[in-house]
């Protein structure tokens, strides 16, 4: 009951802020693209707004010659809203993980323009781990237990692990909280909200296993050494781009090309810290064909899921 109330409050704030931003962008003509709109799906709109705003302002300035007069950030609470906005040309530029990128590419006609190095990571992989004493030899050992993912939008800590578990023939069951027990033949899963909870829940045996990306596993803040020593990785996925820069059909190819070029040319020495503030970006790389292939796989798999 309490949980419901809390979620409702949280949603209200988020929806209010998003509505304000959306209403602003309606008055700008997509074809003229006078305002460059950068978007992302978020659970922490305030933080992400702060992180995206300098980049879009900077890039709007850079693209002045193309009639861009200002930059704007739009944040979305779920993929379908973002897809709709991109499709309508309300959003020109999206920075997202592979799962969202796959949706946008396939459902909104968006195009990848660059991979983003986040925290020095161009790509990451998903990790499944458990306390060492569980001695998990196979993912089937997880049946009848609960695994903790981070949240439903997490590519590395939800989408990829779930993709893997299901690909191994396991059936996953969403649990509302830790007190719930999964069906005997299923693997229960809960969202830990963040990496720290994910680690602690595993360590304190609240769940049998957890999922993180390899960057978090290496991060001492999120994975204290004392805890790490008690844990063992029992699965690591292939690497996927850490983050992707995408342009929607609302942005003219000319400007999209200029934007791509500008991004690829950015370097931390001359950008006045714009790149670093942009979700700790250390650089951009061009898109390779295998990335499209990976996204295709992801998209295809996601079609089988019900939204949790």
């Amino acid at each position: 009951m309490m949980c419901y109330k809390f979620s409702e409050l949280h949603s209200c704030i988020r929806v209010g802020l998003l509505t304000m931003l959306v209403s602003c962008s309606y008055f700008s003509m997509p074809s003229e693209a006078q305002t460059l709109v950068l978007a992302q799906i978020t659970e922490r709109p305030k933080k992400d707004f702060k992180e995206l705003r300098p980049m879009v302002t900077y890039m709007a300035e850079q693209l002045k010659e193309f009639g861009i007069t200002s930059g704007e950030v739009r944040l979305f609470s779920n993929v379908s809203e973002l897809v709709a906005a991109v499709k309508h040309g309300e959003v020109h530029w999206i920075t997202e993980t592979s799962f969202t990128a796959a949706k946008l590419v396939h459902e909104a006609g968006a195009k990848l323009i660059a991979t983003k190095w986040k925290n020095g990571q161009q790509s990451y992989s998903s990790i499944l781990y458990a306390r060492s004493e569980h001695n998990i030899q196979s993912v089937t050992d997880l049946i009848g237990t609960t695994i903790a993912f981070e949240n439903k939008n997490s590519f590395s800590s939800y989408f990829l692990p779930r993709l893997y578990l299901e690909s191994q023939g396991l059936t996953l069951e969403r649990l509302d909280n830790l007190r719930q027990v999964p069906a005997e033949n299923k693997v229960g899963f809960v969202f830990s909200r963040n990496e720290v909870n994910n680690v602690l829940w595993v360590d304190k045996r609240l769940v049998a296993a957890g999922a993180l990306n390899n960057g978090d596993w290496a991060n001492r803040d999120r994975m204290p050494a004392s805890i790490k020593s008690r844990l063992t990785i029992f699965y690591q996925s292939l690497p996927y781009p850490r983050s992707l820069e995408i342009v929607g059909p609302g942005l003219s190819p000319k400007i999209a090309k200029a934007l791509t070029s500008k991004l690829l040319m950015m370097n931390s020495a001359s950008d006045n810290g714009v790149m670093a503030r942009y979700e700790q970006t250390t650089g951009f790389s061009p898109i390779t064909p295998d990335i499209y292939h990976q996204l295709e796989q992801v998209y295809q798999h996601s079609l089988k899921w019900q939204e949790p």
Partner: protein
């Protein structure tokens, strides 16, 4: 030492003032010190209580804050706890940690198992609270809060709706609050110290002013208190300076009044006693006249008044003639009675004299007995010196009648010496000495008379004094020499000898007459030495003539002392024996007065001398006490008759006395030597009466030994030629 000296020299008033001031100052200092002490105490107490109050207030406030904080926390914790959202729980705990210094914090579940302990890895996860020693409270489903030591412990349930499904417990250290309190206390202490310092300075100022005020007040008070004592002290000083009329009476009934009365009584008694003492000290017990002390005390006063008021006064120094004889003959009681009668009469005559001359009989008139039979009368004179002889005459007249004392008729004779101030002396000693000289002059004048002092008396006295004092020195240093008055054979006018005469050429007084020398030195030992010296000198001179083969007779005056004193007599004998050859021509000439003393002794001595070769001549035969009996017993060779008789030989017939002397001499085969023959008639008479030897200015004056020798030689030559 300085303080002791200072306190000794300080007056009583200042001492009392100082004492009062000191007491007041000490009291003030004590009060100030006490008030400072209690003030400090009170301040400390207030400060302590204040601190406690602050502590408890801060503590209470902290507890309230913690309670509110905890309520908020539990609200914030309910959902994360429900969701096992460690991150959210950690955020809340971090928030809590920021609000105060946490000793510990535990979020626990319904089973009191720890869900979060605030650490990154939640090491205590799953432990039961009861295993954690830091936790002092037991979960009760209610808010528990407790301050233990320096930690506030809190335990509060975490509820969703009304059901408890966990809780939080934490300890907030009181340290920061304590630091705040300490800081506040320090401020209080600083303020307190500053206040205390100000109080000190104020107190010191007040004390300083108080001392400045106290000193004059104490002085005034002491003056007030001691004023009557000072009055008494002043009066006592006045008494010390002989202001006898001072009254000590003070009109008060306290101790000082009593002291004043006591002093008054004491002064009265002292005065009475003083008069009594004066009476004893200044009154002669026997005669009730003033005594010598009174005279000695009052004469200087009289001298002073005399100088001041320009009047002179006379001193009559009176001695009773032959008083010793009265005592010896009639007894001391008669002597005392005589003194009393004389004193009374003397007083009466003096009083009468004063009345007669309209003089007040006061301190200026003194009739005093100086001691024994010596009296003194002092009267002021104005400028009329005749008055005093009038008084002395009246005294002499009055005393011409005999007194009838204890059935004896006693006649008192007075010898009086008179001096006048300032003519005859300016000091009491000088006046008395000169009066004495004058009195002796009266005695010398035959007693029963008065002599006014004159300078000659003093000169004579002084000369006599010099003679007595210097004679022996003069003998040794040659001031005294001999001269010779030649003797002649009255029939043939041949020079046959000489009488040795002493000549003293004094460097200051000139030639001192031989008579005076004899008179002054009479009754003294010096005369013996002089006699011996003369005899020895004559013996030596005699030898000179003898060596020339000249016979010469020498007469030498021998003093009475030389005979009566055995030692002196023996000296003469030794000299005679020593100069035996010369002795044969020596004639020892003695005054007949000496023969009255002890006839047998005299006979013995004179015989010894005579046996040594000397002749014995008796001088002044008729004037002394000699008698035929003595003349018969003594080995006398010659009588010497001097000018007393010779001057009477101016008449045609000699007096029967001289004739009888000559007859006596003739009958006893004694030669009569005539002296001081100045006229041929006198020589004629002497020859006729029977003197064959004589001397005098008719024949020759005194000669030196050289002259004598020369004359003797020429006489011898002439005689041979005849």
């Amino acid at each position: 030492v300085k303080i002791v000296l200072m306190t000794k020299t300080l007056s009583m008033t200042k001492k009392l003032a100082l004492l009062l001031a000191l007491i007041a100052i000490i009291s003030a200092v004590i009060i100030f010190s006490l008030s400072l002490y209690f003030n400090q105490k009170m301040h400390q107490s207030v400060s302590h209580i204040g601190q406690q109050q602050i502590e408890s207030a801060v503590s209470a406030q902290l507890i309230r804050d913690v309670t509110i904080l905890s309520a908020t926390l539990t609200d914030n914790l309910s959902e994360p706890l429900y969701n096992d959202d460690f991150t959210a729980i950690k955020l809340v705990i971090d928030e809590l940690a920021r609000s105060g210094e946490l000793a510990y914090v535990y979020v626990f579940d319904i089973d009191n198992n720890i869900v979060h302990d605030g650490s990154v890895d939640i090491n205590n996860y799953g432990q039961n609270l009861s295993h954690i020693s830091q936790v002092k409270l037991i979960p009760s489903g209610q808010l528990e809060i407790k301050k233990i030591g320096r930690v506030i412990h809190l335990m509060e349930p975490i509820k969703i709706t009304d059901s408890v499904f966990g809780g939080i417990t934490f300890g907030i250290k009181f340290k920061k609050a304590e630091q705040d309190i300490a800081a506040y206390s320090d401020e209080i202490h600083l303020a307190s110290d500053s206040y205390y310092r100000e109080l000190w300075v104020s107190m010191l100022w007040a004390l300083g002013w108080l001392i400045l005020l106290i000193l004059p007040i104490a002085l005034i008070l002491a003056k007030q208190l001691l004023a009557p004592l000072q009055q008494l002290a002043k009066k006592s000083q006045a008494i010390k300076h002989h202001h006898a009329d001072i009254s000590f009476a003070l009109d008060r009934n306290d101790e000082i009044g009593q002291l004043a009365s006591a002093l008054q009584e004491m002064t009265t008694r002292l005065s009475e006693s003083h008069h009594e003492v004066i009476k004893i000290a200044f009154i002669d017990e026997l005669t009730s006249l003033s005594n010598r002390r009174y005279f000695n005390v009052n004469l200087p006063k009289l001298i002073k008044w005399s100088d001041q008021y320009q009047f002179s006064f006379a001193i009559i120094f009176i001695d009773l003639d032959h008083f010793k004889q009265v005592n010896d003959d009639l007894g001391h009681d008669v002597g005392d009675a005589l003194l009393i009668a004389v004193a009374k009469t003397m007083q009466q005559v003096t009083n009468a004299f004063c009345h007669q001359h309209h003089m007040l009989i006061d301190e200026k008139v003194i009739v005093a007995r100086l001691g024994g039979d010596e009296f003194v009368v002092v009267v002021p004179l104005g400028n009329d010196q005749c008055n005093i002889t009038e008084l002395s005459d009246q005294l002499l007249d009055t005393f011409s009648a005999p007194f009838n004392l204890k059935n004896h008729e006693v006649k008192a004779s007075l010898s009086m010496g008179i001096t006048l101030y300032p003519d005859h002396g300016t000091t009491i000693n000088e006046l008395l000495k000169n009066s004495d000289l004058a009195m002796y002059d009266a005695k010398n004048r035959g007693r029963g008379c008065a002599s006014m002092f004159n300078q000659a008396m003093k000169d004579e006295f002084q000369l006599n004094h010099v003679i007595k004092l210097e004679v022996e020195l003069a003998l040794s240093n040659g001031q005294i020499s001999l001269e010779y008055q030649p003797y002649y054979n009255l029939d043939s006018n041949f020079l046959i000898g000489a009488c040795a005469l002493v000549r003293w050429q004094h460097p200051q007084y000139g030639l001192i007459p031989a008579e005076l020398l004899n008179e002054v030195l009479e009754d003294s030992r010096a005369i013996c030495a002089l006699s011996a010296w003369v005899l020895k000198q004559v013996c030596c001179d005699s030898l000179l003539l003898d060596q020339k083969g000249i016979d010469c007779l020498f007469s030498v005056n021998i003093s009475n002392e030389s005979l009566t004193e055995p030692d002196c007599a023996n000296d003469i004998l030794l000299l005679l024996n020593e100069h035996y050859r010369a002795s044969q021509s020596i004639c020892l000439q003695l005054n007949d007065t000496v023969l009255a003393t002890d006839i047998d002794y005299c006979a013995t001595i004179l015989n010894q001398w005579k046996n040594a070769g000397a002749q014995i001549w008796i001088d002044r035969l008729s004037l002394g006490y000699s008698s035929l009996h003595y003349v018969e017993k003594l080995p006398i060779d010659a009588f010497v008759i001097d000018k007393t008789f010779i001057y009477s030989l101016t008449k045609t017939q000699p007096s029967p006395v001289i004739k009888s002397i000559y007859a006596l001499a003739q009958s006893m085969a004694i030669t009569v030597i005539a002296q001081d023959i100045t006229t041929a008639m006198q020589a004629q008479h002497c020859r006729e009466l029977g003197s064959i030897t004589g001397q005098g200015m008719l024949y020759s004056g005194a000669l030196s030994i050289e002259q004598l020798i020369a004359q003797m030689e020429s006489a011898q030559y002439a005689n041979k030629n005849k």
